[in-house]
């Protein structure tokens, strides 16, 4: 059983590092091979969302990622943006996706949430401990 913690400056270039670490820990923890692409995508989406929120709010604080394998593989991605900014999560229906007035940022946010909800059976978005920021928690089963 292990815990791996990572914190990184809120820059797009580091999201790839978080994905790589997240998948490496998942593989070592015993997540089924067939789920690893979904783990990679979901961690990437959660970190991309956190980086975008920090940049929108000019927050230099690091984004925090914690991975643990106590019976399941759990990944928590924590941002420090105002909670109301992080609460705006909803998938977009197909009729909205190609609407001319929908901005690329809004589309990316909606699509990102659709991917998280679609690829993570056990997904929880809640206020971060300490009252500032949002925590995205994702859990996958381990092979026995």
């Amino acid at each position: 059983m292990a815990v791996v913690r990572l914190s990184f400056s809120p820059a797009p270039v580091h999201v790839r590092t978080a994905r790589l670490v997240g998948v490496a820990v998942a593989r070592r923890a015993g997540v089924r091979q067939g789920l690893l692409d979904e783990v990679r995508l979901a961690i990437g989406e959660a970190c991309t969302r956190a980086v975008a929120l920090h940049q929108q709010h000019n927050l230099p604080d690091p984004v925090r990622v914690e991975m643990s394998d106590y019976g399941t593989y759990a990944v928590r991605v924590v941002d420090r943006a105002p909670i109301e900014a992080g609460a705006d999560l909803a998938a977009l229906p197909a009729s909205e996706l190609a609407r001319e007035s929908l901005s690329e940022d809004a589309l990316t946010t909606g699509v990102g949430f659709a991917l998280l909800a679609g690829f993570v059976d056990d997904l929880l978005v809640r206020p971060a401990d300490g009252g500032v920021g949002t925590e995205v928690q994702m859990v996958w089963p381990l092979d026995q």
């Binding site: 990679r40 229906p93 996706l97 690329e104 946010t109 699509v111 679609g118």
Partner: protein
């Protein structure tokens, strides 16, 4: 893996072959290349995702942006993708109802 981009012409179509990872870091390069093509007068654009091994919401946002731009200009935009992991991304996001998706470049260009 870094993003790779190669462009060729098939009849009236500009075909952009994308490889590697399309994510929040590399998507701006993809946006720049595709918008350059459109600004240079390309009306019918096909993006071949056959060599892409990672595609996230940022990359999808870029592709939708180009689709809208070409649609407004009276052009066309299509994607080539035949790999199940990527097709699943399009289904989950409902973008399979937005993009014309083809299994091969020949099918996309009507060759």
């Amino acid at each position: 893996m870094e993003l790779s981009l190669a462009t060729r012409t098939v009849g009236e179509f500009a075909v952009v072959v994308v490889g590697g990872e399309v994510d929040v870091y590399t998507a701006p390069q993809l946006r720049e290349r595709l918008f350059e093509l459109v600004d240079a007068g390309a009306e019918h654009v096909v993006v071949d995702l056959g060599r892409v091994d990672f595609l996230d919401s940022t990359g999808l946002g870029v592709l939708v942006g180009v689709l809208k731009r070409l649609r407004t200009a009276g052009g066309s935009f299509a994607l080539v993708c035949d790999r199940e992991p990527l097709l699943k991304i399009f289904r989950i996001t409902a973008l399979d109802q937005v993009f014309p998706l083809y299994p091969t470049v020949d099918a996309a260009t009507g060759a």
